[in-house]
């Protein structure tokens, strides 16, 4: 157990270093920080001075170390476009993105799992066929188009729901939440449904195939032979055993959902980190790009780590030491 945890931790640190290195190169080599900070009429002497204060005359590894130390303290410099510290900008935007992503993941679980169970149990009913075909179409639909069509129907034609922004937000310490007001909740509906489309189809297909696999196993046959009710067999035995991969994939998807929120946030003008990032790409705002990259990298690494640990807890087979340590 301990060896496993340590190995995974080391791997995560390596990945984070790689991500930090990309962000660092972006910061220092791609955009010339000196000319970014000085007016065009600056003299050569000014330039040298700025280079010194920024530590750009130091050898490469020293600069990288300084960058990492700064990053660990949340110091990513000043946004070129907005003229404010990047860390403050990201902290402001983080709650919006996280609320959106979690809402989407919850919808994914609460709609995806029942749909998956239903299509696995009633394989030949026409509802199952419709659901499966719909999920195939769902995968072929670009996410932003789903958003646009939802806006067209529910905001423009029917006028039921707002189509942009977060509504009224309440400030709780450093966290601004839209979950406590009616307008905030209404504003969350369309973006979270849009964002949940992919997780729903994925979880449904996953639960379905896992469930069908489990229903063929001997212990299910044995449970039936013992005369247990269908309900107990399906939910107590079969569903529980399908949940391991579902936990993994949903966990891994959460990172993807946060990243995909870039698109959804643009469609709905949702004031989250994704929108900030897209504007940074459009305006070549390197500090924001670098910081976002590090943050998303960190979220991904942490999620991967937690999912691996969960897997370890849920599936006892992983706890047995493998002889010879083959594979990876």
């Amino acid at each position: 157990m301990l060896a496993f945890v340590i190995r995974r931790l080391l791997q995560s640190v390596l990945v984070m270093l790689a991500v930090a290195f990309i962000a660092f190169s972006l910061f220092n080599f791609v955009g010339d920080p000196v000319s970014l900070m000085l007016p065009p009429e600056a003299t050569q002497q000014d330039r040298e001075e700025v280079r010194k204060t920024l530590g750009l005359d130091q050898p490469f590894y020293v600069q990288f170390k300084v960058f990492i130390v700064n990053a660990l303290q949340g110091n990513f410099g000043i946004s070129l476009r907005l003229g404010r510290p990047v860390s403050a900008l990201l902290a402001e935007r983080l709650p919006a993105t996280l609320e959106l992503a979690f809402a989407a993941a919850l919808i994914g679980l609460f709609i995806g799992i029942p749909m998956g169970v239903y299509t696995a149990l009633k394989r030949d009913s026409w509802i199952s066929r419709v659901l499966l075909t719909a999920s195939l179409i769902g995968v072929s639909l670009p996410n932003f188009l789903i958003g646009i069509f939802l806006i067209l129907i529910f905001a423009v034609w029917l006028g039921w729901l707002p189509s942009f922004g977060r509504g009224d937000v309440t400030q709780l310490a450093f966290w601004s939440t839209g979950l406590l007001t009616i307008t905030g909740l209404k504003a969350l509906v369309l973006p979270s449904i849009t964002l949940s489309f992919y997780p729903v189809t994925l979880i449904m297909r996953l639960v379905r195939s896992e469930m069908m696999e489990v229903l063929r196993t001997d212990y299910i046959k044995f449970a039936r032979a013992r005369g247990l009710t269908n309900r107990s067999v399906h939910f107590g035995h079969a569903l529980r055993n399908t949940l391991v991969p579902v936990i993994t994939i949903t966990g891994l998807q959460l990172g993807g959902v946060i990243a995909f929120a870039i698109v959804t946030e643009t469609v709905f003008q949702w004031p989250g980190m994704g929108l900030l990032f897209i504007q940074a790409v459009q305006f070549a705002d390197i500090p924001v790009m670098a910081a976002y990259l590090c943050l998303i990298g960190f979220i991904f690494v942490v999620i991967n780590l937690i999912v691996d640990m969960l897997y370890f807890v849920v599936d006892p087979r992983l706890r047995v030491e493998r002889p010879g340590g083959g594979g990876h």
């Binding site: 990945v15 791609v30 072929s140 698109v263 897209i278 940074a280 070549a284 990298g297 991967n304």
Partner: protein, 305 residues
């Protein structure tokens, strides 16, 4: 010769399974129509949306022909600059298909080469390439593409953005999609490299590169082509998404994604057709290509017969 090949093709299992499935015939027909419409856009399109002289601003925001406010000249209506929506869709599909196709080819080239090298050379090279692949695979493709796109925007001078946008986009999408090919090819290369014909080639003294690319490559290419078919649809979606986000091709040479982005601004003023028709065209195109790819994967997989 040509005739015997035609006979063989008509006699094959793939053609048989093609004939049996009406859905696939429809998908193939739709794909063909889309490609023809896109490639022959300069000939077939009712108007040239980029000929500024033929544009009439008075015609801007004309509704589709079957509505009351519509004009028969513009079947699907016009956009904010008076461009015929049907024509812009045909030209836009041309751009989308071009980028999707080029990006898939480049990703394939990159992935197959790296996979071959990783699988054949092995050792540290293999570990290095596959490590990068693993890391990249844990991030979503759209994020990688956005990142490459963003870096290119910083590096390139501003006045070159529009002319180079197409290439930047192709590289960004390819850079985000090569891993699947590398993994597949590496796997089959590991199997092939120990076979007798490779040993024979090595014994007669052929160079590593020659063995990799003339002997091993043809034997590992099968699954790659199927992956490629499935990748085209995805590449088109990625392109559309990037263009929709405003970091793709410029509005002067729009793709379907750019058209949807333009139309999105007019959603609330009631001009729904400027977005809905390019959007529908995109969905139909991608769905048809994906159905074909899915079918091809199953048809070429002997295990499923």
């Amino acid at each position: 010769m040509a005739q015997s090949m035609l006979v063989r093709a008509l006699d094959s299992d793939v053609y048989y399974s093609f004939k049996r499935s009406p859905l696939i015939i429809v998908a193939a027909a739709v794909t063909l129509i889309c490609i023809l419409g896109a490639v022959l856009a300069p000939i077939l399109a009712p108007h040239n949306p980029f000929d500024l002289a033929s544009l009439n601003l008075l015609d801007a925001f004309t509704a589709p022909a079957w509505t009351e406010a519509g004009k028969a000249r513009y079947l699907l209506g016009t956009d904010d600059q008076g461009r015929d929506v049907l024509s812009t869709i045909m030209y836009g599909a041309r751009m989308s298909l071009l980028v999707g196709f080029l990006a898939t080819m480049l990703a394939m080239l990159l992935g197959v080469s790296l996979g071959l090298i990783a699988g054949y050379v092995g050792g540290k090279v293999d570990a290095f390439i596959m490590r990068i692949a693993d890391i990249q695979l844990s991030f979503p493709a759209i994020l990688i593409a956005l990142l490459i796109d963003g870096v290119a925007r910083v590096v390139l001078p501003k006045d070159q953005h529009d002319t180079l946008a197409l290439y930047v986009l192709v590289i960004a999408i390819a850079g985000s999609g090569w891993v699947r090919y590398a993994r597949t090819v590496r796997g089959s290369t590991l199997v092939e490299r120990n076979k007798e014909y490779v040993q024979a080639a090595r014994v007669i003294g052929r160079s590593k590169i020659a063995i990799m690319f003339t002997h091993v490559l043809p034997n590992v290419l099968g699954p790659v082509l199927v992956l490629g078919t499935l990748h085209i649809g995805e590449a088109i979606i990625t392109e559309a998404t990037l263009s929709f986000l405003g970091v793709g091709v410029p509005p002067t040479q729009p793709s379907l994604g750019t058209l949807i982005r333009i139309g999105n601004d007019f959603l609330f003023s009631g001009e729904w057709w400027i977005t809905v028709f390019p959007g529908t065209a995109l969905v139909v195109l991608v769905l048809a290509i994906n159905l074909l790819g899915d079918w091809l994967r199953d048809a070429l997989n002997p295990k499923l017969r």
